[in-house]
Symmetry: C2
């Protein structure tokens, strides 16, 4: 994907996040990018298409940076820690691209929504499969792996609502703290 | 608060949750309640006021059912379990009143927003103070109590995005599972 398209998605995501999807116009986004509306339509087909493109970009980022490398990690405990810390880093990186994913799904067409749901399910399945593997190895506490997978996802995604750069802890420290809480929460004490 | 006002808030919350705030009209809400717009204006001043009233109702519910009784629990570990399970029950009760709180804050006036933020802070402070108490008693793992408080809140609030009644686990079982994950995640093994 060319760098300009990424900039379009990130800028649009930031504005939609601030103003809300319904209140954001294509002109707002063009203004923020310093280009004309016609110039913006070189990258996007329209507002609904744009929202979908942003979500797709965010979920593909999650797949590329989290899910694909996670598959290479044989040890499920290490894999779980990798998924949590890497996903947390993406959220605190703060471009809002992934953040926005959670709230505006109602503006998608049914076909777009199905595709977004399918990509989100891949993420949850990765977490749950890893937890199921740990269960087979008797390393898991008596927790339901679905509840555990969603609870961990919730803790990570919630970061986008409270994390501010420049606080007492660095993004890296926070990512590790969340991983510690998540792993201790689901694994038997060794 | 009279029962009819509660019904107005719950119904409005459900519709705003489905359609989004901007796309919801006062007529939509009146229709769903089976009353006229004039009848609805007996309960609400307007759309912005309504959103604020819903949020206030949801946060007052949280204060009444979680924060006030929590203060009566001397043992911080028991208090933590009470806060997590009771809050999770409110979310799975599924009236959407609390759920909606998290997304639509941008439609509030600055004064309303300040009040909502103040009430949300009371909730986070309750969790964090409880965790700080556990830290003093050397019962806490080496986790930052702010990160822990927000991570636990995220896991609970995320319930509203994935929980569906009639699944394999009851709402009560899920509430206890989340509490187990949260407590094991932050407490030293005893």
């Amino acid at each position: 994907m060319d760098g300009r398209a990424v900039e379009v998605y990130r800028t649009a995501a930031r504005i939609i996040l601030q103003k809300g999807y319904d209140a954001t116009s294509v002109s707002d986004i063009a203004d923020a990018l310093g280009i004309t509306k016609a110039g913006l339509y070189h990258y996007i087909k329209g507002k609904t298409e744009l929202l979908y493109e942003i979500m797709k970009y965010g979920l593909e980022e999650l797949e590329r940076e989290v899910l694909v490398p996670a598959r290479e990690i044989a040890d499920p405990e290490q894999r779980l820690r990798f998924v949590v810390t890497t996903h947390a880093r993406i959220v605190t990186r703060g471009d809002g691209v992934v953040t926005i994913l959670v709230d505006e799904a109602r503006a998608l067409t049914p076909a777009q929504n199905r595709n977004v749901m399918r990509m989100k399910r891949k993420y949850i399945d990765c977490l749950r499969d890893t937890l199921d593997e740990l269960k087979k190895l008797r390393k898991l506490r008596g927790v339901d792996t679905t509840v555990a997978a969603f609870s961990i996802t919730g803790a990570i995604n919630w970061l986008s609502r409270w994390y501010r750069p420049g606080g007492e802890l660095s993004a890296e420290e926070i990512a590790w703290q969340i991983a510690d809480i998540a792993l201790n929460g689901v694994l038997r004490p060794s």
